[in-house]
Amino acid sequence: MQTNFTPEQLTDPHVAESEGILRKCVHCGFCTATCPTYVTLGNELDSPRGRIYLIKDMLENGRPADEEVVTHIDRCLSCLACMTTCPSGVNYMHLVDHARIHIEQTYKRPLKDRLVRNVLAAVLPYPGRFRLALKAARLGQPLAAAMKRVPFLKSFGIMLDLAPAGIAPASSASTPGIRPAQTEKRGRVAILTGCAQPVLKPGINEATIRLLTRLGVEVVVPQGEGCCGALVHHMGREEQALAAARRNVDVWVKAADAGGLDAIIITASGCGTTIKDYGHMLRLDPAYAEKAARVSALAKDITEYLATLDLPRQEPKAIIVAYHSACSMQHGQKITMAPKILLKNAGFTVRDPAEGHLCCGSAGTYNILQPDISATLKARKVKNIEATKADIIATGNIGCITQIATGTDMPILHTVELLDWAYGGEKPAGILPSP
């Protein structure tokens, strides 16, 4: 589409990049069709095409963000379904990242929003704080219903609601060190411990390490890594996000240099999308650009890596799995077939829920920040999943697991937990007894 930036504006590399992205958009409107918020709200301003226009207008005029723009950008889930749909190759992800940074730098949010965002940014990326907060939340849960009725406190009430019933103690899987291969060694990988996931579902990384080591892969849990930065990145808090990225880049480069790494394994696809983007995020930092690109190239979703190991076919099991592809998996990382092929080879019957391209409404902290749209999307997702009449739901992202679990009685597991079981591990807790 036509753009109107001055040569001076284009000297800013962020603006120049956004201009390049905007020039590719031909306004065909295909993106509107697969955008969860447009489908839900029916307003083009809540569609990628509308947001692109709002962002273009804001950037061209070098104007501070205002409430109108912020409202519609905030409603974006960053599910990136639009990028899968877009025939023109518009990199909406980088455009909206830029817009969020611009908003964060130029717009003062109302007090309530700032409070909620500060709490999320201060707690979620830190497992210790998060665990404490969850315990406190359990105590506060009886208040959730009342809080949700007060607009100012609604988001806090929802946070309380989301806190799971049982909070596991810190997992051994998070302890730094090397987990040697149990059979003939065929590879060496590092694993991202992550922030929220090991607190909410420590079993996922435990299963991953068990499965990999059993398959002959040495797993390094590096010292010093932390949250990937996705959470603050999506809030437009660029410096915090880049700091998280640099810290992790240092840790993994060190691990790679020490003993070689075939891959950095990520078991939460939301994190995977961000880590695969480190190379881009740090491209303007001469000290980190190259290292970050190296890390991004090494980053692999667990299913992406397992697909390279040629796992043997297992006997069919009488268990039907509805595979829910997280947005960060299918749109962010374009991993669509590997998880399903792995599950099928492991003996499961796999079904695809209808409208698989639509987000479940989790989207990081979206379910807290945009509770109404999130709840609508959750209901739609659960309806589609339940229609498959599957026994169990498998997915590759902790956010989706938490979100969908609050909407259905069907058990929901990480794909790797099912694979670990199929390839010699313990039966995961919460799975139905096999008939």
């Binding site: 036509q2 031909v26 029916g42 307003n43 083009e44 095409r49 709002l54």
Partner: protein
């Protein structure tokens, strides 16, 4: 350099009342259904014909037919122009607003109201997307036939407005042939119903007149469409040729021999490259022209029809024949074709022509088209519905360069005139919109247009419905 296309002069009386109008509309519509701030209006300034833009006065997003009626009643009372909008995917600027207009967007009216398999009909709200209809009935073995390339996003209301076609219209016809009834709101808020589940309706064929009327006769809020049983199987086959002329003459002979496949699509070399880059469908890259021919039916039927087509293709020097090997590949072949316009955005801005010519003229028009493009120093990609002669040259240009844009527009006009002179028409399925409005007198005499405008005036005597479109501004009846 051609003159740019003019919009109607905004009515000062409307612009002067802007604030009052916005307040009144806010009273008429529920919360969240009116956009009136400048920031929020800009994204509605154009559709998929991005060469032209006008920021509207307000955007109404009604949720019910009654709300559409209330807004129209209000607008007609004060003579406020109204521009209907579906998904805003028009390639001819049919949904581009004007500065004194209220846009009525149907995007919130997106429910499927009734599916009747025994009578093979679906009744849907106007904002339902084309593909949603087929998806809703697919599991039961049915589909809705017209399939414009934008079917993922475009709405049935927009399809009715433009009488949209698509690749598979060669066999199944365009929107008007698959539309049984509508509920619509006239300029003054009167709600009428035309047609229904019966195959024909009494009286004048108002439904036929409304279909393709580009939002000038009223706003359709509900539609009843015909469903068809899905064929047993279908298979697209790729035929690569070393020249566009060979491909064009092959199409003419296939149709002339009495074989009517479901679809015959044409792509030239630039288009093949663009589509393959996006879809990775396995199109042959070493040919000058490609035909996608789809046959359907049982295995034996498809084989029989293909054998005849292959024999004809060989007589026209076909270089490559590739059958799709799986349903997944077939889907990719169509995904690539249907994304062709958008995918062109990867390499350049474009304007998309839509002239239709008699089949016998296909090769001649292709050749002349490339001569015209060369004479302007431009590039072109051709991707179109060859089976019914519906050409889509995509003229590539740089929208940030006004001179380049002017050249592209001039070349486009020359190509459309060429189509008319070859015995065809300006637009086969995209509609006149704003884009081709000023070329109408190349196809019609003033007296023909006068009769059309008279029919239009029977529906909208005030000329408030999408008034800048279709009819040249000169020669209109005095208001």
């Amino acid at each position: 350099m051609p003159e740019t296309i003019a919009f109607l002069e905004p009515k000062p009386s409307v612009l002067a009342r802007r604030q009052q109008i916005v307040e009144d509309l806010a009273d008429i519509l529920p919360p969240g259904c009116l956009i009136s701030e400048k920031r929020g209006l800009v994204p509605f300034e154009t559709d998929a014909f991005i060469a032209y833009r006008q920021v509207p006065l307000a955007v109404a997003l009604p949720e019910t037919t009654a709300q559409v009626a209330a807004v129209l009643k209000y607008c007609s009372r004060y003579g406020i122009p109204v521009v209907p909008r579906g998904a805003g995917t028009s390639l001819s600027g049919g949904a581009i607003p004007q500065s004194d207009a209220v846009v009525i967007g149907l995007s919130k009216m997106s429910r499927i109201l009734d599916v009747d398999f025994a009578n093979r009909t679906a009744t849907v709200q106007a904002g339902v997307t084309n593909i949603n209809i087929s998806e809703a009935v697919s599991a039961d073995g049915f589909f809705y036939a017209p399939d414009p390339s934008s079917q993922l996003a475009c709405t049935i209301g927009g399809n009715i407005g433009m009488n949209s076609g698509g690749a598979h219209c060669l066999k199944y016809g365009v929107t008007t042939n698959n539309l049984l009834g509508v509920k619509m709101v006239l300029f003054d808020g009167t709600v009428i119903e035309l047609g229904g589940k019966a195959l024909d309706a009494p009286g004048y064929d108002l439904l036929g007149l409304v279909c393709g009327s580009e939002g000038q006769l009223g706003i359709v809020t509900e539609a009843t469409v015909r469903l068809l049983a899905k064929p047993e199987g279908s298979r697209p086959v790729l035929f690569g040729f070393m020249s566009s002329e060979e491909a064009g003459s092959c199409v003419a002979e296939v149709i002339g021999s009495g074989i009517i496949p479901v679809a015959i699509e044409f792509m030239d070399k630039p288009a093949i490259g663009i589509c393959e880059a996006f879809a990775q469908a396995g199109y042959p890259m070493d040919v000058e022209a490609l035909l996608i021919v789809e046959v359907e039916g049982s295995e034996a039927e498809m084989e029989a029809m293909l054998a005849s087509i292959i024999a004809i293709a060989r007589r026209h020097g076909v270089a490559t024949i590739r059958e799709s090997q799986s349903a997944a590949q077939a889907a990719l072949i169509w995904k690539g074709r249907k994304s062709a316009f958008g995918a062109t955005g990867r390499i350049a801005d474009y304007i998309c022509m839509d002239g239709t010519v008699p089949l016998g003229q296909l090769s001649y028009v292709l050749k002349k088209t490339s001569e015209i493009i060369d004479s302007y120093g431009l590039r072109v990609a051709n991707v179109f519905h060859a089976g019914d002669g519906n050409m889509h040259p995509l003229i590539l240009y740089n929208i940030n360069d006004p001179e380049d844009a002017a050249r592209a527009e001039a070349a486009g006009n020359d190509i459309l005139k060429l189509c008319v002179d070859a015995g065809g028409c300006l637009t086969g399925e995209h509609g006149v919109g704003i884009e081709k409005r000023d070329l109408m007198l190349h196809q019609f005499e003033q007296v023909d247009l006068n009769q059309q405008m008279a029919a239009r005036a029977a529906f909208d005597p005030q000329w408030i419905m999408n008034p800048s479109k279709v009819f040249p501004l000169e020669g209109r009846p005095a208001a």
